[in-house]
Amino acid sequence: MNRKTKLALLEMMLRIRKTELRLAEIYRSGDLTGALHLYEGEEAIAAGVCAALNRDDFITSTHRGSGHCVARGMPLRTLIAEVYGKATGCCGGKGGHMHMFDVDAGIMGTTGIVGAGMPLATGLGLSIQLRKTSQVAVAFFSDGASNNGAFHESLNMAAVWKLPVLFVCENNGYATSVSARRSTSVTDIGVRGAGYGIPGVTVDGNRVDRVYQAASEAVRRARAGEGPTLIECQTYRIRGHYEGDDWWEYRDSAEVEEARRRDPIAFWQAALVEDGVLGEKTLDEMNARIDSDIEDAVQFAAASPLPEPEQAFVPAHPQPA
């Protein structure tokens, strides 16, 4: 991995983290409505995987999707404006945080139905195969989704047809309050790859270099027509299931503290410093760039108009005259 990539990975993780934390702050201020599922602590996965992609590749995402959108380069302005429900949002305020689309960035949607992105990504892979382009499709999902029928049917279909799809499982240990231990019959979800005759790899999802490496290999395979890969990235959901979810009988705060110590950004930053790749100046510039982008986006979003009510019926759904 070259110096540029190393720094880019760091910058992307920081960009995601800071966006997430800023959204949390805005949420607390009461300016946002709806459910907000944040990605803090899982940044290495979106950053690592998306760094292995080209601009014209596709992703499908989840209810916890803003990190993926940032990693794919969705403009922060349209992202944050959408979370605000503004007319200038990526979906004109129709979607909100759980339904963000940006076709230009290959973001074929965050979704509110757990697991639903996997069949879609399979179909994107199918379309790539039929159109004979060299794109790939990535489905991000978490441990909870890996127990849904959508996972099984998608992996089987993608495997049989050797579709160019990456199934990226962000195993963050929880599905709402339900620990993977109590709901998922295997510890390493990567082992499930064997049930479809495809590679199933398990990597430390807090190590952006390992994620990037695993994704790069899977992308290579996919573009070479060798079919899909299941990549399990083990991480931890540091925050509540959604913002305002402070009701934590279901886990120990010690567990969370322990996870915080394995912060993916702190690790990578230290590694780059050690490597001599990252100096204070570079870091400051990076932070300044990100902060200013986020501030700009927040200003933009806050100042943007809400959609006009008649927009509720545009696009119109077919109905009798």
Partner: protein, 329 residues
């Protein structure tokens, strides 16, 4: 003894009492255990009844529903929490092709006393995939019952009946009503399935509603009363089999019908109730029956857009005024 309980507390008390009374009753679903469910519907159950009878599941809607059916046909009375009615699309094969049919197709050998619970209706900002009121589909399928309480007493009374019923019942909880309060009897009698309630008597218009649309309609009714229209509000409570007698009785008196439904219009509950009165009581009709439903659109996120989609007391009152040729003062 009555105490003031919220809708969700009343539902919880109903489930708890049945679980105390009948050890074949148990609960399963995503987060029903340690956390006590997304809206605290089962708070405290895990400690009281233990992990055997209060089962956290994976995100496996089809297996949750199917396992509930399997347990129900072999002596248990499962309560399966499917969280949002929007997700029941993933479970509905087991609900519609198994739960609904096994009693009949086995020629009565098998009973399916399963309860499928899910929240329904809109809530600010829940957007495209969490605001469904898709009960019309379940009402269409022979073999299913569907209930939707509008108040704490019925939240409790209907869950008691749903659990005790020997057939599959879909029990819907309205997200906007969860914190509504009312006096609820500790030894409340079950609310019978298939029986509507007249929430307000009136002479000029029969307004049929359910769930959140009941309090919204009552508010509208109070508003137009000052303008000289006396509205009778029928709370369906059971959407299937709905209480046709109660509706017809009221309609024969008023000669006018407005169905207010949070679901969508086409092949929805509104059209159903209109066709009921038309087929069965047309001679009593004084005016075209009407319906006010959710608009035919995917539910948008942004508040000013969302506000255009669902009926509320304001739009209900406006519809009533329009029916009676009144101008808003």
């Amino acid at each position: 003894m009555t105490r003031s309980l919220t809708y969700v507390e009343a539902l919880r008390e109903g489930m708890r009492q049945e679980m105390e009374r009948d050890e074949t009753v148990f609960v399963m679903g995503e987060g029903v255990g340690l956390r006590g469910s997304a809206f605290k519907q089962t708070a405290g159950f895990y400690d009281q009844f233990g992990p055997e009878r209060v089962r956290d599941t994976a995100i496996s809607e089809l297996a949750i529903a199917g396992a509930a059916v399997g347990a129900a046909i072999s002596g248990m009375r499962p309560i399966a929490d499917l969280m949002w009615i929007d997700f029941t699309t993933l479970a509905c094969d087991q609900i519609c092709n198994q739960a609904a049919k096994l009693h009949y197709v086995s020629n009565g050998q098998i009973k399916v006393p399963a309860v499928f619970r899910a929240t329904t209706g809109h809530l600010r900002g829940q957007a495209a995939q969490h605001c469904g009121s898709w009960y019309a589909f379940y009402c269409n399928i022979p073999g299913l019952k569907v209930v939707l309480p509008s108040c704490p007493s019925d939240a409790k009374g209907l869950i008691l009946s749903a659990i005790r019923d020997d057939g599959p019942v879909i029990y819907l909880e309205h997200k906007m009503l969860l914190n509504v309060r009312e006096e609820v009897a500790e030894d409340l009698a079950p609310t019978p399935l298939g029986v509507a309630a007249i929430r307000r008597e009136g002479a000029d218009l029969t307004l049929v509603a359910s769930g959140l649309m009941v309090p919204e309609s009552l508010k509208a009714a109070r508003e137009v009363e000052a303008e000289g229209v006396s509205v009778e509000v029928v709370d369906l409570r059971t959407l299937m089999p709905y209480d046709s007698e109660c509706i017809l009785r009221s309609f024969r008196k008023t000669g006018r019908l407005l169905v207010v439904d949070e679901g969508f219009r086409y092949c929805g509950l509104g059209s159903e109730i209109i066709s009921l009165v038309i087929e069965r009581a047309m001679d009593y009709m004084d005016d075209s029956p009407r319906q006010l439903t959710a608009r035919h659109t995917t539910v948008p996120f942004s508040p000013p857009l969302e506000d255009c989609v669902f009926p509320n007391s304001r739009t209900i009152a406006a519809e009533i005024r329009d029916m009676f040729g009144l101008v808003k003062l």
